[in-house]
Symmetry: C2
Subunit: 122 residues, 2 copies
Amino acid sequence: MRVTPQRFAVYSNLLSRKDHPTAEQILTSLNKNSPTSSQATIYSSLQALKEVGLVREVLLEEGVCRYDANVLPHHHFRCGKCGCIEDIAWEQVEGISFKELRPGLTVEQYELTIHGICERCQ
Amino acid sequence: MRVTPQRFAVYSNLLSRKDHPTAEQILTSLNKNSPTSSQATIYSSLQALKEVGLVREVLLEEGVCRYDANVLPHHHFRCGKCGCIEDIAWEQVEGISFKELRPGLTVEQYELTIHGICERCQ
DNA sequence: CTTTGTGCAAACGATTTGCAGGATG
DNA sequence: CATCCTGCAAATCGTTTGCACAAAG
Protein backbone atom coordinates (compact mmCIF):
# COMPACT_ATOMS: atom_id res chain seq x y z
CA MET A 1 0.00 0.00 0.00
CA ARG A 2 1.23 3.42 -0.93
CA VAL A 3 1.37 5.85 1.97
CA THR A 4 -0.31 9.03 0.88
CA PRO A 5 -1.05 12.13 2.96
CA GLN A 6 -4.77 11.30 2.91
CA ARG A 7 -4.31 7.73 4.09
CA PHE A 8 -1.89 8.84 6.73
CA ALA A 9 -4.35 11.47 7.92
CA VAL A 10 -7.21 8.97 8.12
CA TYR A 11 -5.10 6.47 10.03
CA SER A 12 -3.64 8.93 12.48
CA ASN A 13 -7.06 10.42 13.08
CA LEU A 14 -8.34 6.97 13.93
CA LEU A 15 -5.36 6.29 16.17
CA SER A 16 -5.84 9.53 18.03
CA ARG A 17 -9.44 8.90 19.01
CA LYS A 18 -11.10 6.11 20.91
CA ASP A 19 -14.69 6.65 19.82
CA HIS A 20 -14.85 4.44 16.72
CA PRO A 21 -15.88 7.18 14.33
CA THR A 22 -17.92 6.78 11.18
CA ALA A 23 -16.46 7.65 7.80
CA GLU A 24 -18.30 10.92 7.87
CA GLN A 25 -17.00 11.84 11.32
CA ILE A 26 -13.47 11.24 10.11
CA LEU A 27 -14.14 13.40 7.08
CA THR A 28 -15.45 16.37 9.04
CA SER A 29 -12.71 16.00 11.62
CA LEU A 30 -9.98 16.06 8.97
CA ASN A 31 -11.48 18.95 7.06
CA LYS A 32 -12.21 20.96 10.18
CA ASN A 33 -9.43 23.45 9.59
CA SER A 34 -8.26 22.99 6.06
CA PRO A 35 -9.73 20.66 3.44
CA THR A 36 -7.46 17.63 3.29
CA SER A 37 -9.49 14.86 1.73
CA SER A 38 -12.69 14.25 -0.11
CA GLN A 39 -15.44 11.89 0.92
CA ALA A 40 -14.62 9.28 -1.70
CA THR A 41 -11.01 9.27 -0.61
CA ILE A 42 -11.94 8.67 3.02
CA TYR A 43 -13.93 5.63 2.00
CA SER A 44 -11.22 4.28 -0.24
CA SER A 45 -8.53 4.96 2.36
CA LEU A 46 -10.54 3.10 4.97
CA GLN A 47 -10.96 0.27 2.53
CA ALA A 48 -7.22 0.16 1.89
CA LEU A 49 -6.34 0.33 5.58
CA LYS A 50 -8.82 -2.43 6.28
CA GLU A 51 -7.30 -4.68 3.64
CA VAL A 52 -3.84 -4.15 5.05
CA GLY A 53 -5.15 -4.99 8.50
CA LEU A 54 -4.47 -1.65 10.17
CA VAL A 55 -8.11 -0.87 10.70
CA ARG A 56 -11.23 -2.88 11.36
CA GLU A 57 -14.91 -2.27 10.92
CA VAL A 58 -17.18 -2.19 13.92
CA LEU A 59 -20.87 -2.94 13.44
CA LEU A 60 -22.80 -1.99 16.51
CA GLU A 61 -25.40 0.28 15.15
CA GLU A 62 -27.98 0.23 12.46
CA GLY A 63 -27.07 1.90 9.20
CA VAL A 64 -23.54 3.08 9.84
CA CYS A 65 -20.20 1.46 9.80
CA ARG A 66 -17.67 2.56 12.39
CA TYR A 67 -13.92 2.16 12.25
CA ASP A 68 -11.33 1.18 14.79
CA ALA A 69 -7.55 1.32 14.62
CA ASN A 70 -7.29 -1.13 17.50
CA VAL A 71 -7.05 -4.44 15.69
CA LEU A 72 -6.10 -6.52 18.70
CA PRO A 73 -8.95 -8.73 19.87
CA HIS A 74 -11.19 -6.92 22.28
CA HIS A 75 -14.84 -6.60 23.21
CA HIS A 76 -17.22 -3.69 22.92
CA PHE A 77 -19.56 -1.95 25.27
CA ARG A 78 -22.32 0.19 23.79
CA CYS A 79 -24.52 2.58 25.72
CA GLY A 80 -28.13 2.20 24.69
CA LYS A 81 -28.91 5.83 25.47
CA CYS A 82 -26.16 7.96 24.03
CA GLY A 83 -24.78 5.32 21.69
CA CYS A 84 -21.22 5.78 22.84
CA ILE A 85 -18.89 2.87 22.40
CA GLU A 86 -16.13 1.75 24.69
CA ASP A 87 -13.53 -0.93 24.26
CA ILE A 88 -13.44 -3.72 26.79
CA ALA A 89 -10.02 -5.29 27.08
CA TRP A 90 -9.83 -8.95 26.21
CA GLU A 91 -8.65 -9.87 29.70
CA GLN A 92 -11.56 -8.14 31.35
CA VAL A 93 -13.81 -10.98 30.33
CA GLU A 94 -13.13 -14.34 31.83
CA GLY A 95 -12.35 -17.34 29.70
CA ILE A 96 -15.10 -17.94 27.24
CA SER A 97 -15.23 -21.51 26.04
CA PHE A 98 -17.56 -23.23 23.64
CA LYS A 99 -18.88 -26.63 24.44
CA GLU A 100 -20.41 -28.78 21.76
CA LEU A 101 -20.42 -26.16 18.96
CA ARG A 102 -21.79 -28.07 16.03
CA PRO A 103 -18.98 -30.05 14.42
CA GLY A 104 -18.44 -28.50 11.01
CA LEU A 105 -18.27 -24.96 12.30
CA THR A 106 -14.73 -23.63 12.38
CA VAL A 107 -14.31 -20.72 14.75
CA GLU A 108 -11.85 -18.09 13.59
CA GLN A 109 -12.58 -15.24 15.91
CA TYR A 110 -15.22 -14.07 18.31
CA GLU A 111 -16.09 -11.06 20.34
CA LEU A 112 -18.55 -9.95 22.91
CA THR A 113 -20.97 -7.08 22.48
CA ILE A 114 -22.13 -5.70 25.78
CA HIS A 115 -25.22 -3.50 25.82
CA GLY A 116 -25.82 -1.26 28.77
CA ILE A 117 -25.79 2.26 30.12
CA CYS A 118 -22.69 4.36 30.55
CA GLU A 119 -21.92 6.47 33.62
CA ARG A 120 -22.96 9.75 32.01
CA CYS A 121 -26.41 8.41 31.09
CA GLN A 122 -27.25 6.77 34.42
CA MET B 1 -50.35 -2.92 18.89
CA ARG B 2 -53.07 -3.69 16.42
CA VAL B 3 -52.76 -7.09 14.80
CA THR B 4 -53.12 -6.59 11.07
CA PRO B 5 -52.78 -9.19 8.33
CA GLN B 6 -49.50 -7.60 7.21
CA ARG B 7 -47.96 -7.60 10.67
CA PHE B 8 -49.12 -11.12 11.26
CA ALA B 9 -47.61 -12.19 7.96
CA VAL B 10 -44.27 -10.55 8.74
CA TYR B 11 -44.12 -12.11 12.16
CA SER B 12 -45.09 -15.59 11.09
CA ASN B 13 -42.67 -15.43 8.21
CA LEU B 14 -39.93 -14.58 10.66
CA LEU B 15 -41.02 -17.36 13.01
CA SER B 16 -41.01 -19.91 10.23
CA ARG B 17 -37.43 -19.31 9.15
CA LYS B 18 -34.16 -19.49 10.97
CA ASP B 19 -32.02 -17.44 8.60
CA HIS B 20 -32.47 -13.94 10.02
CA PRO B 21 -33.81 -12.40 6.84
CA THR B 22 -33.47 -8.79 5.76
CA ALA B 23 -36.53 -6.61 5.28
CA GLU B 24 -36.28 -7.15 1.56
CA GLN B 25 -36.08 -10.92 1.88
CA ILE B 26 -39.22 -10.89 3.96
CA LEU B 27 -40.93 -8.71 1.37
CA THR B 28 -40.11 -10.97 -1.55
CA SER B 29 -40.97 -14.06 0.45
CA LEU B 30 -44.39 -12.70 1.39
CA ASN B 31 -45.17 -11.46 -2.10
CA LYS B 32 -43.94 -14.64 -3.77
CA ASN B 33 -47.39 -15.91 -4.62
CA SER B 34 -49.77 -13.05 -4.12
CA PRO B 35 -48.93 -9.48 -3.21
CA THR B 36 -49.61 -9.11 0.50
CA SER B 37 -47.64 -6.11 1.66
CA SER B 38 -45.69 -3.19 0.37
CA GLN B 39 -42.11 -2.36 1.19
CA ALA B 40 -42.96 0.54 3.50
CA THR B 41 -45.35 -1.66 5.43
CA ILE B 42 -42.71 -4.33 5.99
CA TYR B 43 -40.43 -1.73 7.48
CA SER B 44 -43.11 -0.26 9.70
CA SER B 45 -44.31 -3.70 10.76
CA LEU B 46 -40.80 -4.68 11.73
CA GLN B 47 -40.52 -1.45 13.66
CA ALA B 48 -43.75 -2.14 15.50
CA LEU B 49 -42.83 -5.75 16.26
CA LYS B 50 -39.45 -4.58 17.52
CA GLU B 51 -41.01 -2.05 19.85
CA VAL B 52 -43.33 -4.65 21.28
CA GLY B 53 -40.39 -6.96 21.81
CA LEU B 54 -41.45 -9.77 19.50
CA VAL B 55 -38.61 -9.24 17.12
CA ARG B 56 -35.02 -8.09 17.40
CA GLU B 57 -32.53 -6.63 15.01
CA VAL B 58 -29.36 -8.49 14.22
CA LEU B 59 -26.36 -6.51 13.02
CA LEU B 60 -23.72 -8.82 11.66
CA GLU B 61 -23.16 -7.45 8.24
CA GLU B 62 -22.35 -4.14 6.68
CA GLY B 63 -25.22 -2.24 5.16
CA VAL B 64 -28.19 -4.43 5.99
CA CYS B 65 -30.23 -5.04 9.02
CA ARG B 66 -31.48 -8.55 9.67
CA TYR B 67 -34.38 -9.60 11.84
CA ASP B 68 -34.92 -12.41 14.30
CA ALA B 69 -38.08 -13.61 16.01
CA ASN B 70 -36.03 -15.42 18.63
CA VAL B 71 -35.79 -12.83 21.36
CA LEU B 72 -34.39 -15.14 24.01
CA PRO B 73 -30.73 -14.46 24.70
CA HIS B 74 -28.49 -16.36 22.35
CA HIS B 75 -25.26 -15.96 20.43
CA HIS B 76 -24.59 -15.82 16.72
CA PHE B 77 -22.26 -17.59 14.39
CA ARG B 78 -21.55 -16.03 11.03
CA CYS B 79 -19.77 -17.71 8.15
CA GLY B 80 -17.26 -15.37 6.58
CA LYS B 81 -17.60 -16.99 3.18
CA CYS B 82 -21.29 -17.48 2.48
CA GLY B 83 -22.48 -15.04 5.10
CA CYS B 84 -24.96 -17.50 6.60
CA ILE B 85 -25.94 -16.95 10.18
CA GLU B 86 -26.62 -19.57 12.79
CA ASP B 87 -27.93 -19.24 16.30
CA ILE B 88 -25.76 -20.55 19.08
CA ALA B 89 -27.77 -21.53 22.12
CA TRP B 90 -26.98 -19.62 25.27
CA GLU B 91 -25.93 -22.79 27.09
CA GLN B 92 -23.44 -23.73 24.42
CA VAL B 93 -21.08 -21.09 25.67
CA GLU B 94 -19.67 -21.50 29.11
CA GLY B 95 -20.28 -18.92 31.79
CA ILE B 96 -18.95 -15.59 30.70
CA SER B 97 -18.11 -13.31 33.57
CA PHE B 98 -16.77 -9.80 33.63
CA LYS B 99 -14.08 -8.83 36.05
CA GLU B 100 -13.41 -5.23 36.86
CA LEU B 101 -15.68 -3.67 34.21
CA ARG B 102 -15.32 0.04 34.80
CA PRO B 103 -17.60 1.02 37.66
CA GLY B 104 -20.26 3.25 36.12
CA LEU B 105 -21.05 0.91 33.30
CA THR B 106 -24.31 -0.95 33.83
CA VAL B 107 -24.56 -4.12 31.82
CA GLU B 108 -28.03 -4.92 30.59
CA GLN B 109 -27.38 -7.60 28.07
CA TYR B 110 -24.56 -9.10 26.10
CA GLU B 111 -23.98 -11.53 23.33
CA LEU B 112 -21.20 -13.23 21.52
CA THR B 113 -20.55 -12.94 17.81
CA ILE B 114 -18.55 -15.83 16.49
CA HIS B 115 -16.90 -15.48 13.10
CA GLY B 116 -15.85 -18.58 11.25
CA ILE B 117 -16.53 -20.95 8.40
CA CYS B 118 -19.57 -23.17 8.15
CA GLU B 119 -19.51 -26.82 7.11
CA ARG B 120 -20.67 -26.16 3.56
CA CYS B 121 -17.87 -23.66 2.92
CA GLN B 122 -14.97 -25.68 4.35
C1' DC C 1 4.93 5.81 -19.43
C1' DT C 2 2.30 2.70 -16.64
C1' DT C 3 0.12 2.15 -12.42
C1' DT C 4 -2.26 3.86 -8.48
C1' DG C 5 -4.66 7.55 -5.81
C1' DT C 6 -7.61 11.68 -5.63
C1' DG C 7 -11.71 14.57 -6.27
C1' DC C 8 -15.97 15.48 -8.07
C1' DA C 9 -20.48 14.30 -9.20
C1' DA C 10 -23.61 10.91 -10.30
C1' DA C 11 -25.37 6.31 -9.08
C1' DC C 12 -26.83 2.98 -5.80
C1' DG C 13 -29.16 0.32 -2.17
C1' DA C 14 -31.32 0.23 2.24
C1' DT C 15 -34.45 2.69 4.92
C1' DT C 16 -37.64 6.59 6.00
C1' DT C 17 -41.10 9.92 5.15
C1' DG C 18 -45.22 12.57 3.32
C1' DC C 19 -49.44 12.06 2.04
C1' DA C 20 -53.95 10.25 0.48
C1' DG C 21 -57.03 6.83 1.10
C1' DG C 22 -58.89 2.63 4.11
C1' DA C 23 -59.84 0.00 7.90
C1' DT C 24 -60.60 -0.23 12.91
C1' DG C 25 -62.32 0.86 17.32
C1' DC D 1 -65.43 10.35 13.56
C1' DA D 2 -60.84 10.00 15.37
C1' DT D 3 -57.06 7.06 15.23
C1' DC D 4 -54.03 3.94 13.35
C1' DC D 5 -52.37 1.28 9.13
C1' DT D 6 -51.32 0.74 4.29
C1' DG D 7 -49.42 1.76 -0.21
C1' DC D 8 -47.22 4.52 -3.33
C1' DA D 9 -43.69 7.59 -4.62
C1' DA D 10 -40.36 10.75 -3.39
C1' DA D 11 -36.76 11.80 -0.19
C1' DT D 12 -32.77 10.72 2.62
C1' DC D 13 -28.55 8.67 4.18
C1' DG D 14 -24.43 5.99 3.92
C1' DT D 15 -21.55 4.09 0.57
C1' DT D 16 -19.83 3.06 -4.16
C1' DT D 17 -18.63 4.06 -8.87
C1' DG D 18 -17.10 6.34 -13.33
C1' DC D 19 -14.20 9.33 -15.03
C1' DA D 20 -10.57 12.84 -15.74
C1' DC D 21 -6.54 14.36 -13.91
C1' DA D 22 -2.47 14.29 -10.77
C1' DA D 23 1.22 11.79 -8.44
C1' DA D 24 4.44 8.06 -7.78
C1' DG D 25 7.40 4.34 -9.18
